[in-house]
Amino acid sequence: MFEQILFLLSATATIGFTVAVVGTNNLMHACMYLLGTLFGVAGLYATIGADFLAATQIVVYAGGVVILMLFAIMLTGGAEDKKNRFGIEKIPSMGSTKTYIVAGASVLIIAMIVLKMTANIHTANKDLAVASTGNESTVFNIGSLLLTDHILAFEISSILLLGALVGAAIIARPKRN
């Protein structure tokens, strides 16, 4: 019951904030709405027993990425000329009905295909869905898996992070002259 309420809340928050991210004119607001979306997704993780992931999602995204984006938006001054720069009506191809018709048709087609494929999977695994409701902490298992089976990917991702850190520092560094 609690899970279902949590799922409904999380799903509603995710979808609502996502629509808000898409629809808002203000980039700063869009970033805030993205934060809501990410919290929603973290809630969704929690409803299917991915507790460690939910925590990581909140820590990394809310604590890292969104803050980083807010800094970037403020550094580039993007929030100030929000109307001119980010308004959908300012984009020529976005102003016409034809574009929306084409885009909507594409979305519908893709949605139908995706739903058709997922329906197949859903019917094939109907029984499995019920059997996996038991929730326990995944932290121990994930930690042991990362350091045994996925040790190579783990180390490579650490090198990737180090490279991203150094690369970002070098790229963003202002010119000496």
């Binding site: 594409s106 087609i109 893709i110 295909i113 995706v114 058709k116 494929m117």
Partner: protein
């Protein structure tokens, strides 16, 4: 002596090498070039002396000949033989001719170093002279008509160059052109004759022609314009036209007087001693053909008319070189007359003697001209009215010129008398046998009188009397004996004595030396007996010297010339009469000249006034030049020229060429249409347009706009998913 390549070919090749070397070095090393020229011709002279010594002193046979050949062109197929041989043909005549040409040329080269020394083109003169000498020696050595023709034309070219040597002078260029074009008329006939002989005999070498003559290959007729003409006559006439052109005979004599525009040594060598004599030499070589063609009467008439006509013109000339030029024509006429009356030996002897004394005369004239320098016009004086009394200042020249004048006038004991009177004696003999020959004989005697007259007129006007141009006379330098100026003259004048050529001092047997046995010239030079050439011996001309030498029968002088006692007596009688007549005639000519110009008891002006019409005619050279220019060239050749031009321009050009142009233009229109439409529009512009089209497409794809890329990615992904999902 063997006649290998190295012994004989060098005679003609040495001057040629000199020519080739000098042609390159003459501008920088003029003195060296001149030395090379002189040394080359002197070496040729020494080689010629060897041959002469071998032929005349060792072999001494009238039947002697050496014929050596090498294959020049051989393009025979299996069925058609086509082979041209070149080679040498040396007989007594060649040996004598070689000695004469090289000797005279050597002396003239030496004299030229004096005469041409101040000239700006001193070296170039020797280049031409070397080439000319080489060509002349090549002609003399030739064994066939083709190489004769080659050297003949080469000499013509040298003559052309040397006549136009002072091309700054007005008229020199025209004179050289005139000489070249006039001789060309004869040369064309000569070439036709060579082709005719080639057609009949299949070879053009002399010995083959002689053999063909003895086999009677020339007996048939050919049809020309419907007239049946014996081939022998046709060939002989064509060849004799070459002689007419080169030796300045009657219809084509106009070029030789104008040729005196050249430097005097070149006049001496080319237009007196050698080149003009080459025509007569050719006639003598082809004498059996002339005989077979029954052309001798014609030749005798041509020679006599030339001898007499030129002598009359020489009477009124005032230019010292013009007198000598007409005298040359006249003497060449004598030689041709000798050919015509069958005096083979005498004609050739006159060729040699004339070469010697006329070369000497020209050199002496050159010496006179060179010493007379007009300080007002800075030119040399050639006009006799401005001379006179030069004897005291030019003693050596005077001696040489006097000897030669005596020789040419036919005074006994001199070479001219020996040769000329043999010709006249034979002419008289021919006249007694054929009535038709009286005209040449009488003209010949008359020309002898005129010769004596005008030559002594020249002598009196030049060397005797008082100087008529005092200033000119006083500026002259006294002549001293100098190796390269008067010594050649004196050497030549020694050889004007008749004793070198005949066993008797007078040539007619009046006064004999060595009991008359020393008649080498008459013994050795005989007309070729064609029957002897039926199986003529020929050898390959190689560097190899170990060739079998032919043994020839030693000839002895035959006073009767193979005739019977009675005939020989008759001939002797006629020759005696002729000799006496010509002595009388010569002396009367000299005497008349003395009266008019020496003692001045007869006034020349009176006689010119009396015969003023004739005088004008003579001054205008019988209007030959006028006739050629006004009638032949302007009235005949120019209309022909215009007619041909009309055919060319009016018909051929307009219809054939322009018509072709119309056809081409049509094709051009079609091709242009094709070009514009297919090639240009479709192919060329189409390529560009297709490139531009792809450019638009690709540029649109690669706009650099990231969102467009993203749309493309989504589209591709969607279609991929579609493809997976719809199976």
């Amino acid at each position: 002596m063997d006649y290998s390549f190295s012994n004989v070919a060098l005679i003609a090749l040495l001057p040629f090498f000199a020519f080739v070397i000098n042609a390159f070095i003459v501008k920088k090393f003029t003195k060296l070039a001149v030395t090379i020229s002189c040394l080359a011709i002197f070496s040729s002279f020494l080689l010629a002396c060897r041959i002469f010594k071998d032929v005349v002193f060792d072999v001494y046979s009238s039947e002697f000949y050496v014929h050596k050949y090498f294959n020049w062109i051989d393009i025979s197929s299996a069925t058609i033989p086509f082979k041209i041989n070149m080679g040498i043909y040396i007989d007594n005549m060649t040996a004598i001719m070689l000695l004469m040409v090289t000797g005279v040329a050597t002396l003239i080269h030496v004299f030229s170093t004096y005469y041409m020394h101040d000239d700006a083109r001193f070296g170039r003169f020797f280049v031409y002279m070397s080439l000319f000498t080489s060509a002349m020696l090549g002609l003399v050595l030739s064994d066939n008509l083709l190489s004769v023709f080659i050297f003949w034309e080469l000499m013509g070219f040298c003559s052309y160059s040397l006549i136009g040597f002072y091309y700054e002078k007005e008229g020199a260029g025209n004179a050289s052109m005139k000489a070249f074009m006039t001789t060309r008329v004869g040369d064309v006939f000569f070439l036709v004759g060579i082709l005719a002989i080639w057609n009949i005999v299949g070879s053009v070498s002399f010995v083959d022609i002689y053999a063909a003559l003895s086999q009677g290959k020339f007996a048939h007729d050919i049809m020309i314009f419907g007239l049946g003409i014996p081939v022998a006559t046709f060939a002989a006439f064509s060849i004799f036209m070459g002689t007419i052109g080169k030796s300045a005979q009657f219809p084509l004599q106009v070029w030789l007087p104008d040729a005196m525009f050249g430097p005097t040594p070149c006049s001496a060598l080319i237009h007196a001693a050698t080149m003009v004599a080459a025509g007569v030499y050719l006639s003598l070589r082809m004498f059996p053909l002339m005989e077979a063609g029954h052309l001798l009467t014609f030749i005798a008439y041509i020679g006599a008319i030339t001898a007499f006509g030129a002598a009359t013109i020489a009477l009124v000339q005032t230019d010292i070189k013009a007198v000598l030029a007409y005298s040359t024509i006249s003497q060449l006429g004598y030689m041709v007359l000798g050919v015509g009356v069958g005096a083979y030996n005498a004609s050739f002897m006159h060729l040699i003697t004339h070469a010697v004394f006329k070369a000497c005369l020209f050199l002496a004239a050159g010496s006179v001209i060179h010493s007379l320098h007009d300080h007002h016009t800075h030119e040399h004086v050639q006009e006799m009215p401005r001379m006179g009394g030069l004897r005291k200042k030019l003693p050596f020249t005077f001696i040489a010129m006097m000897c030669c004048t005596l020789a040419i006038s036919g005074i006994p004991f001199f070479s001219g008398f020996v040769s000329k009177d043999r010709i006249l004696g034979d002419a008289l003999l021919a006249a007694l046998h054929h009535k038709v020959m009286w005209v040449p004989a009488v003209l010949g005697f008359a020309a002898a009188f005129l010769t004596a007259f005008y030559m002594f007129r020249m002598m009196f006007l030049t060397f005797f009397g008082e100087p008529r141009d005092k200033e000119l006379y006083e500026h002259m330098h006294e002549e001293h004996l100098q190796l390269n100026s008067n010594v050649p003259l004196l050497i030549l004048s020694i050889f004007t004595l008749g004793v070198f050529y005949s066993g008797s001092l007078t040539g007619q047997g009046f006064i004999k030396v060595f009991k008359g046995n020393y008649e080498w010239f008459g013994t050795l030079v005989e007309k070729p007996h064609v029957a002897n050439f039926q199986d003529h011996k020929r050898q390959l001309w190689t560097m190899d010297s170990s060739v079998d030498r032919e043994e020839f029968k030693h000839s002895r002088y035959d006073e009767k010339h193979g005739k019977t006692e009675e005939e020989a007596h008759h001939v002797h009688q006629v020759h005696l009469i002729g000799a006496l007549m010509s002595i009388v005639i010569a002396f009367s000519g000299v005497f008349l000249s003395f009266l008019m110009y020496g003692k001045k008891s007869l006034n020349p002006a009176f006689w010119t006034g009396l015969f003023s019409g004739w005088y004008r005619g003579l001054l205008n050279k019988y209007y030959f030049d006028t006739f050629y220019i006004k009638v032949v060239i302007q009235k005949m050749l120019l209309p022909l020229n215009n007619f041909l031009a009309f055919i060319d321009m009016g018909i051929y050009d307009r219809y054939a060429i322009d018509g072709w142009e119309n056809v081409n233009r049509w094709f051009y229109t079609v091709a242009k249409w094709f070009d514009n439409l297919v090639v240009d529009t479709v192919a060329v512009d189409g390529t560009g347009a297709s490139v531009r089209l792809f450019n638009v497409v690709l540029r649109t794809l690669q706009s650099g706009k990231i969102q467009f890329y993203f749309i493309m990615i989504i589209l591709v992904l969607s279609s991929y998913i579609w493809a997976i999902g719809s199976n």
